[in-house]
Amino acid sequence: MLPNRSRLSVLVFLLPPLLLYGVAVLFPIMQSLFLSFFSWNGISDMEFVGLANYVRMLTGDDIFWRSFLNALGYLAICLVLQLGGALFVASLLTSLRRGAELIKTLYLLPAVISTVAIAFLFVRIYSIEPVGLLNQLLHWIGFGGLEKAWLSDVNTVLAAVSAPEGWRFTGLYMLIIYAALLAVPKELEEAARLDGASRWQLFTKIRFPYIRPVWITTTIMATTYGLRGFDIPYLMTNGGPGQSSELLTTYMYKTAFTSTDFGYASTISVFIVIECLVAVGLILLMLKRKADA
């Protein structure tokens, strides 16, 4: 604490940021919570309906549950590609003596590009007429039978809209994990190697425990970003065909701005927030406990 600061000076520095944060983040959260107990289309009078929206969501809305399961599938694919891919590539990179900087830059490139551009790009990659990159590749390696319009097939569309999101951010997580892996003391690895540890043992017994705090952070980041995924599915398929690539976020968006059912949309967004908080809690619980054991 500064010796001669006044109460006023603290307020001068603190109030403007809190004002913006309150207007943009905190107040809207409260408002959503409030709206979720109402039925309102934005024009007529608001009508208090108590828990009716929640009851409708949890017991009477098949699309909601479908979107919830889809969102979990989307999350799973993103996590595997982002965290699994990142850990794998970061581990490979540590064995490299030169060029790591260049590879980091190249690997991060997709993260700089807007989701709209990525959606365009992947629509073409998946396309069948004219033949896109993916179908052409399958044809060449002899899996021509698998060629299909990936975005119109109800069985593949969810994976097809999840993969671009995974692809986009894997570089970001790779950077973070790579930096953590470099910080593992080389004496420890050297000593374990002299004791005859295999590469796998080296990884599970030395490296991974050492980077666990960073791993927890990246898992939380990837999970919360995965649960808020919206742009790419919305732009590529708008949830279709049918509801087969509908996520909670896209469903919420359509409920709010296509059906203008603000009350029910708020209920869904409150659910999304709770889902994020529960996910973060679970991650901390699982990964922290393992660290203590």
Binding site: Y21, V89, S114, T115
Partner: protein, 303 residues
């Protein structure tokens, strides 16, 4: 926090690497493994980069070549015609200008307010500072979609729909927590004695902020701006929700005009437009990639 120790540890255990040469023992042993991991890295880098290269190549193809040719083949002839059509179809210059205005506006707020909050929390200190820090954590965990409906309603009551501010406010608000955390972890490293000396010389909290904290924070400012610019420049959801008029559309919205404007999509022109719009940020990224990479790393580990 452990990162600064890394270079020291490395030079201690493998001194020969200083001369650019790995220790002999290591170089001989795992050559198969090494070759394999190099090949894997190469494949993965291709998967990451090839689609972008393909995007650029496609933007140079003529339409007939695109519709009939093998997508992996190099273009038969290069044409800039798609770029001309891209500029005719949309208002790319205006979109880029709008994105620039929104990114600048949000960044100014994020840097200034983030620095002020961090200064109050970390340097001035007050009783509830832990609570305020915790409050900022909410903005990192909570998904941005929660703010869409309430802000839409609030904006329509105060007539802010369809303005630059309608995009800048939520973009700045949701980026503020990361900025506060980055600045406060930097302020921790400014030695207390600096402040105490300035205080003894009679400087109050405002002068100390202006004369000590602000000038010392330049590097952190660069980090904060770079990291946030990626997300703000590319924002789709707030712009799509709050902006309707053509004159205010940012790049992501402008790009959408290429679909549907003609019923069917003019793909080669669209790809040309995509190439034009990703260029500014891509250039910044390639020029400043060291700073940006460092920023992204520290953003995660300190947040």
């Amino acid at each position: 926090m452990t990162a600064p120790a890394a270079p020291i540890a490395r030079t201690v255990t493998t001194p020969p690497s200083d001369s650019g040469r790995p220790p002999l023992r290591r170089r001989r042993k795992p050559s198969v493994h090494r070759a394999l991991s190099r090949a894997l890295i190469a494949i993965i880098v291709i998967v990451q980069v090839y689609p972008l290269a393909w995007l650029f190549l496609t933007s140079l193809r003529d339409e007939h070549d695109f519709a009939t040719g093998d997508p992996f083949a190099l273009p038969k002839s290069l044409t800039w015609e798609n770029y001309a059509r891209a500029f005719e179809t949309g208002d790319l210059g205006r979109n880029i200008l709008n994105s620039f205005i929104v990114t600048m506006g949000a960044n100014i707020l994020i840097v200034l307010l983030g620095m002020m909050a961090a200064y109050a929390i970390q340097v001035l200190g007050f009783r509830l500072s832990r609570l305020v820090r915790g409050l900022f954590l909410i903005g990192i965990i909570v998904p941005v979609q929660i703010a869409l409906v309430p802000l839409f309603i609030d904006y329509s009551t105060v007539n802010l729909l369809d303005t630059y501010q309608s995009m800048i406010i939520p973009l700045a608000g949701f980026s503020l927590p990361m900025s506060v955390y980055l600045f406060s972890s930097f302020f921790e490293y400014i030695p207390r004695e600096t402040y105490e000396a300035a205080s003894l010389d009679g400087a109050g909290p405002y002068r100390i902020f202006g004369l000590i904290t602000l000038p010392l924070s330049v590097n952190t400012v660069v980090t904060v701006v770079l990291v946030n610019s990626i997300f703000i420049w590319n924002d789709f959801i707030f712009a799509n929700t709050f902006v309707l008029s053509e004159e205010l559309k940012t790049i992501p919205l402008g790009l959408q005009n290429y679909i549907g404007a003609m019923g069917k999509v003019d793909w080669t022109a669209t790809f040309a437009a995509v190439c034009i719009t990703i260029t500014p940020l891509l250039l910044v990224f390639l020029v400043l990639n060291k700073a940006m990479i460092q920023g992204l790393e520290s953003g995660a580990t300190k947040g």
